[in-house]
């Protein structure tokens, strides 16, 4: 009897594998840029420890940092640059789902096409920030 690893599973695994490697390398590289001071951070490195002890709402208020996707426009700063690989890793699942949908459609696997499309919508809504951003 053949061992189970469907075509979709292999495709999903391959994309995840490459994406995860790129994301983790990106995480380390951007952190080195941040820690080494190659790019100036929005919050000086020594000051961060004064903020991570407070609720996120107070942190955002006191630093004036905008939550949500605002980091995308501030990637010239070392700390904001670090959100790029974090966001990349968090977007990987959406990419993997989008990749397996055509195969499911070809197989006329309607139930899983619907489930996969709804999952993409759910994750995209979570990622978009439309459910609220800015802390409590």
């Amino acid at each position: 009897m053949a061992q189970q690893a469907t075509e979709e599973q292999i495709l999903y695994a391959n994309i995840l594998n490459k994406g995860m490697l790129v994301g983790l390398i990106g995480l380390v590289v951007t952190f080195i840029i941040y820690g080494a001071g190659i790019l100036k951070p929005v919050i000086p490195l020594e000051q961060v420890q004064n903020y991570w002890v407070m609720p996120v709402g107070d942190y955002l208020e006191q630093t004036g940092i905008q939550a949500g996707w605002a980091w995308l426009g501030n990637m010239k700063y070392g700390d904001m640059l670090n959100f790029l690989p974090i966001a990349f890793l968090s977007l990987l699942t959406i990419v993997c789902y989008l990749a397996i949908i055509p195969g499911l459609v070809r197989k006329k696997d309607t139930a899983y096409v619907v489930l996969a499309v709804v999952e993409v919508i759910v994750l995209a809504v979570a990622a978009s920030g439309i459910l609220g951003s800015g802390g409590h």
């Binding site: 695994a13 759910v122 979570a126």
Partner: protein, 326 residues
């Protein structure tokens, strides 16, 4: 007899050493954490910037080893221990905890999927429910007062300790007849079991009830920033009847989807700090790597007891902290 005594002594001594270590860190920070919350303008930094990231890296490394040896996810150890004993606010710890659990799940996912151990057809329906509910959980968690979340976290961790102590596992659960839903979704499969040298056919039952439980699992994962392997595995294995190896692997893969949705909510709310996240992710991953190597030369049962004790203390600490006693 002697061996049992030695094991017991080892557990007691190791636990005391572990606790002393954490109590010291906690005591050092009791004052700085309180002092730093009050002022509108932050005080002058107490440490060089890399001090706490280094502590996080080392602690996460240790947790990564222990997580593998005890057979639990990194997130379930990370959140209660870091929030209970280090100065970071629970909001940021939960954000980091989710990214830690997410990174671990993403790293393990490809191998588990390729080997056919994690099953995509089993994961997709469960993941949709859990990830949707994790969004709600994350929003509730960020909206509730910290002391309420901390108290609930403590109670949850103590509940997880009870599950770890009580829950049995079934290698090949007996599923005489799959239910209608799992049949219509064609959730079934075959995997090769090397210890038996044969292919194992599996199917599941009680799918609607399992999906219902993933509502609760998703909410809790989002609210507390915990990976939810501790809950996924018993539901997949004991309730739905998937073989233990399929359950463990599918649970790990499921986290990559559940935690993604919750992680976005924390990130979009500003509760993700790279200075915490990166050392934690790197530490847990290196620790997990070493943990796999160490696994062959240690006694996992002893480590598991140690982890349960430490988790129990961390849960109690979170509970007391939430109630304003600790």
């Amino acid at each position: 007899m002697l061996s049992t005594k030695l094991k017991f002594s080892y557990v007691i001594i190791s636990t005391i050493a572990f606790l002393i270590l954490f109590m010291d860190i906690s005591t050092v920070f009791a004052t700085t954490a309180e002092a730093a919350v009050e002022p509108a303008v932050p005080e002058v930094a107490q440490h060089v910037w890399w001090y706490w990231p280094l502590i996080l890296l080392i602690l996460s490394f240790v947790l990564g080893i222990f997580a593998v040896l005890a057979g639990v996810g990194g997130g379930v150890l990370y959140v209660p221990i870091v929030s209970g004993f280090l100065p970071f606010h629970l909001d940021f710890v939960r954000g980091a905890g989710l990214i830690v659990a997410l990174a671990g799940a993403l790293a393990a996912g490809p191998g588990l999927l390729r080997k056919g151990m994690a099953d995509l057809r089993l994961a997709i329906p469960m993941a949709l429910i859990a990830s949707t509910c994790a969004i709600g959980g994350a929003m509730i968690g960020l909206a509730l007062p910290t002391n309420v979340v901390q108290t609930l976290l403590g109670a949850t961790i103590l509940g997880i300790v009870a599950i770890m102590l009580k829950a049995k596992k079934s290698e090949f659960p007996n599923v005489p007849k799959p239910d209608a839903l799992s049949q219509s979704l064609r959730i079934m499969g075959v995997y090769h079991e090397p210890t038996l040298g044969k292919d194992i056919k599996w199917q599941i039952h009680r799918t609607p009830m399992g999906l219902g439980l993933f509502v609760i699992i998703g909410v809790m994962a989002g609210m507390f920033g915990l990976g939810a392997g501790w809950a996924n595995v018993p539901v997949l294995n004991l309730l739905l009847g998937a073989p233990i190896k399929i359950s463990v692997a599918t649970s790990k893969f499921l986290l990559s989807i559940t935690d993604t949705s919750a992680a976005w909510i924390y990130m979009n709310n500003g509760a993700v700090l790279p200075l915490m996240v990166v050392p934690s992710v790197v530490g847990i991953m290196l620790g997990s790597f070493i943990g796999v190597k160490v696994l062959t030369v240690t006694k996992p049962a002893v480590i598991r007891i140690l982890v349960i004790v430490v988790l129990g203390v961390a849960g109690l600490k979170a509970l007391l902290k939430g109630l304003g006693i600790g």
